[in-house]
């Protein structure tokens, strides 16, 4: 059946794309749409009532807690994204230009951590960062600390470290692809024209790999800002993010419209920040002219 479908080259792409497109419309696009509708509804006596209002958004933005959680999520997302690009770029560069021999092995290792053990891996960080964990054990063993350091876990920084660890493969692969796609001839041309390796890197390699860097950055930003398992397990009170508040509304508290409003408020803030940044860029360019 599958074979016959694939074989018909002349069949319009509709037949081959149709099922998947339909599936994604029904189970991805429409659900996100209905989820948006929920944010304008309200809850009465544990039941969602379809009364249209903006009360949930008002509640999100006027509450003393949620705006702080949103800002913290965005900050954690941005810091994690920047750090992951900084940490991962040399790794991707080495994979492409230096360690060709081990490239397959290392890509396989990245695949393993991309596809396995999300919860367990985050949980394992507790035995590294907790009071009687690996880091404190080493610190005390090396006499760098005379007692366990409590600031290692239950802080936003612990969340950043663990998110960095979880999402390294997501950051490596786009940068790796971008670097791999650079024509070697271009690099040879740069050195033939007298550029030293450092200059070639800054003026040729880096600009050409920027699309990969931007892709990695936005992946990691969105995935980190929207994570709730990591802050739940290593964040403590001070590391809580908006995802935790949302998950609570869909669990114990059961105010789905409020939870939906939190999600779309966060998205709104991101969109506004992005728009402001674009306008700012434009303004700068106009000033220069």
């Amino acid at each position: 059946m599958l074979g016959r479908l694939l074989a018909r080259r002349r069949l319009s792409p509709l037949v081959r794309l149709g099922p998947l497109t339909l599936y994604m419309l029904i189970f991805f696009v429409i659900p996100v749409g209905t989820f948006l509708l929920y944010s304008f509804w309200t809850v009465r006596e544990w039941d969602v009532v379809r009364v249209w209002n903006l009360g949930n958004y008002r509640e999100v933005f006027t509450s003393p807690v949620y705006p702080r959680l949103i800002m913290r999520s965005l900050a954690v997302g941005a810091v994690t994204a920047i750090l992951s690009v900084v940490v991962v770029y040399p790794l991707a560069y080495t994979l492409v230009f230096r360690l060709e021999r081990y490239r397959d092995l290392i890509l396989f290792l990245l695949t393993i951590s991309l596809f396995s053990n999300y919860v367990v891996r985050i949980y394992a960080w507790r035995s590294i960062l907790s009071a009687n964990g690996l880091v404190n054990y080493l610190l005390m063993g090396l006499r760098l600390a005379d007692g366990p350091r409590s600031y290692l876990i239950h802080t936003p920084w612990a969340v950043v470290v663990v998110l960095l660890n979880v999402y390294i493969p997501f950051a490596t692969l786009p940068i790796f692809s971008a670097l791999l796609n650079i024509e070697r001839d271009v690099l040879d041309a740069a050195s033939d024209l007298g550029a030293n390796p450092v200059r070639t890197f800054w003026q040729v390699t880096l600009p050409l790999s920027m699309p990969g860097v931007m892709a990695a950055f936005s992946f990691i930003f969105l995935l980190s800002a929207g994570d709730f398992v990591t802050p739940e397990l290593v964040g403590g009170i001070n590391g809580m993010m908006i995802g935790n508040a949302v998950a609570t509304q869909f669990g114990m508290v059961s105010n789905w419209p409020l939870g939906a409003a939190m999600v779309f408020s966060t998205i709104l803030v991101i969109v506004l920040a992005l728009a402001a940044w674009l306008v700012g860029q434009r303004g700068l360019r106009l000033l220069r002219v």
Binding site: L2, G3, R4, L6, V15, R16, P19, L20, Y23, F27, F28, P31, F35, Y38, P90, Y93, V96, R98, L99, F108, L109, L110, T111, I112, S113, L114, F115, S116, N117, Y118, V119, V120, R121, Y123, A124, R126, S127, I128, S130, N132, L134, Y137, I168, P169, L173, L180, R184, S191, D192, P197, S218, F219, L222, L223, G226, L233, G243, V246, A260, V263
Partner: protein, 281 residues
């Protein structure tokens, strides 16, 4: 494969960079750095495996001695078996459905051009780059609106949304480097389009499809967030692990985690051996 530096045409400028590279190679900063990054990446996994054999019950450090008790404990836990069975059912169903939906779509996206193609591709691949929280609760609210009872079926539906992009990416990457000439040759030799596909194209891309399915199997087997919001009365392995995690540090959890990891590595190793499975590149 990109050309290796050794096979470049030798010009004086290249020789100079070659000499520089040689000097830089004496201090392999980048290689050491990459090694450290990989150590950081696998630190929690190493911890997990080490602690799963550690005989100390209360503290984590210092390590006491070697034991297999935690593995025995993990096997004695009765909740695990039905959860394992459910996880396998969901993962297999997710892999099969993703292959059936994703493979034809990948063909259309690589071989036919039409309006709005890149827009459609972007939409179809979008779920992998979104937080699973958003996908999970959107589906939950959608099912609730339609009064659909949550079950393993709703979980599978959610897993496919997240996993199908991998099938698209993997098969598209293979098709992009596929030599269409072999298909044309088959047709020139008298094969019908269907025969050309069945006898030539499909055997060539079959390892990629199977590899992609294994990748998706591993992904689904491990998927927590989407499952968490869309599961009914039943349980899957990541859900059991989550409930154990919530109860606090538990050495038999390390053993269970290590075994799950071992299983995932095995599945991914088979996918890798089949070759042709690339998520990037």
């Amino acid at each position: 494969m990109p050309t290796m530096p050794e096979s470049r045409p030798v010009s004086s400028a290249v020789q100079i960079t070659g000499a520089r590279r040689l000097r830089l190679r004496n201090v392999p900063v980048l290689e050491i750095y990459s090694g450290l990054a990989l150590v950081f990446l696998f630190l929690p996994v190493l911890m997990l495996v080490v602690l799963s054999f550690n005989s100390s019950v209360t503290g984590i450090f210092p390590l006491r001695g070697f034991t297999l008790t935690w593995y025995e404990r993990a096997f004695e836990n009765r909740i695990i078996w039905p959860a394992l069975q459910n996880s396998l059912v969901v993962a297999i169903a997710t892999a099969v459905i993703s292959a059936l939906l994703g493979t034809p779509a990948a063909f259309a996206l690589t071989r036919v051009s039409f309006r709005f193609k890149s827009l459609l591709r972007g939409l179809l691949v979008l779920p992998v780059s979104l937080p699973t929280l958003l996908i999970g609760i959107s589906l939950l609210s959608f099912f609730a609106l339609l009064s659909v009872t949550r079950s393993l079926l709703t979980v599978t539906i959610g897993h496919v949304v997240y996993c199908v992009p991998y099938m698209l990416l993997v098969v598209s990457a293979r098709l992009a480097e596929f030599d269409v000439a072999v298909e044309d040759a088959a047709r020139d030799l008298g094969a019908t389009s269907f025969q050309a596909f069945r006898l030539v194209t499909f055997p060539l891309i079959r390892p990629t499809i199977i590899g992609g399915m294994l990748l998706i199997f591993a992904q689904s087997f491990d998927m927590f967030v989407i499952t968490f919001f869309n599961i009914g009365a039943q349980s899957t392995l990541p859900m059991v692990i989550w409930s154990m995690v919530r109860l606090g540090i538990n050495p038999s959890l390390n053993a269970l985690g290590a075994m799950v990891l071992g299983f995932s590595i095995l599945v991914l190793l088979v996918a890798h051996r089949l070759g042709g499975v690339k998520v990037a590149g």
